[in-house]
Symmetry: C2
Subunit: 170 residues, 2 copies
């Protein structure tokens, strides 16, 4: 029966193991987050990690951001760009969460648009390069300049001009 009282003074610093169980992330992940600059730790004389309780809040924020689909590198940037850099204030949370909410909304809008196109194309199945909205992802295009549009439309004139519902006309 490990993880016992451990001199349970009301408010001590936490060990990695304690942070791990209380936050629900693995010890190796805490090491990893530290290496990536997402969290910091103090060390005991014996070089073991010791965390202030505020790290739990920080990890909670990281996990929420991840759920919204933000990559760790971006989370790190935003956390470290905070005025103070260490403690997460309520105002920080307000700032971050508002930002992430906007991000989430964008991704939801994108997926919803895709879903609607898919819905309207289920009965069709033409996938025509010219006519099918599924084949013309302009939104993708504007979000990153891959040049996909130009590539996808090269040779368009004489190719793939299949009518709707032709099945497998090969």
């Amino acid at each position: 029966m490990p993880e016992k009282n451990r001199t349970d003074l009301p408010r001590r610093e936490l060990t990695v193991g304690e942070v791990a169980t209380r936050s629900g992330v693995a010890v190796s992940t805490l090491h990893f987050y530290e290496a990536k600059g997402l969290i910091q730790s103090m060390r005991s004389r014996g070089n073991q990690r010791r965390y202030p309780r505020s790290v739990l809040r920080r990890i909670a924020v990281i996990k929420i951001a991840q759920r919204t689909g933000i990559p760790l590198a971006d989370i790190q940037k935003e956390l470290s760009a905070l005025p103070n850099d260490r403690q997460l204030l309520a105002s920080d949370w307000e700032h971050l969460s508002a930002h992430w909410e906007a991000d989430l909304n964008e991704r939801i809008a994108k997926l919803t648009a895709l879903r609607d196109q898919l819905t309207s194309c289920i009965g069709c199945g033409c996938l025509s390069m010219r006519d099918c909205p599924l084949r013309n992802p302009y939104d993708e295009l504007s979000e990153k300049g891959t040049g996909a549009y130009l590539i996808e439309h090269a040779g368009e004139e004489q190719d793939e001009a299949t009518g709707c519902n032709e099945g497998s006309a090969e």
Copy 2:
């Protein structure tokens, strides 16, 4: 000026390069997809890949599925589980797209729930393990039995019972 007429008989088999430009994916990606069993090719006497035109439709379907967030391995499974396995019929598309639509809807619902929680928590920021809906992702839980719930709630009684809006109470 490469990629010229190349004996432009009305309907020939396509080379990798042609498939690449017409589908908008790189040649290396076509190799990769073939290695993963997502597409197949015939070979010329000189061992070069030759594709039937139907491969363009197949790639279109793969790309759409990817946009919805389906991993390639799953796409491969679904494509290879098709009655016929080679040509994509309109009925196949109907089947696949209906399935993916359901999948998409689920993901949209999840993100929307998260967004709503985020919205309601922006002004709060308590992130309380006990009270904050953002900290209790039951949906995640039911989708994969990570045991996150139990871990996240271990030691709940005496810890992290922070009230709302306490800022950084460290």
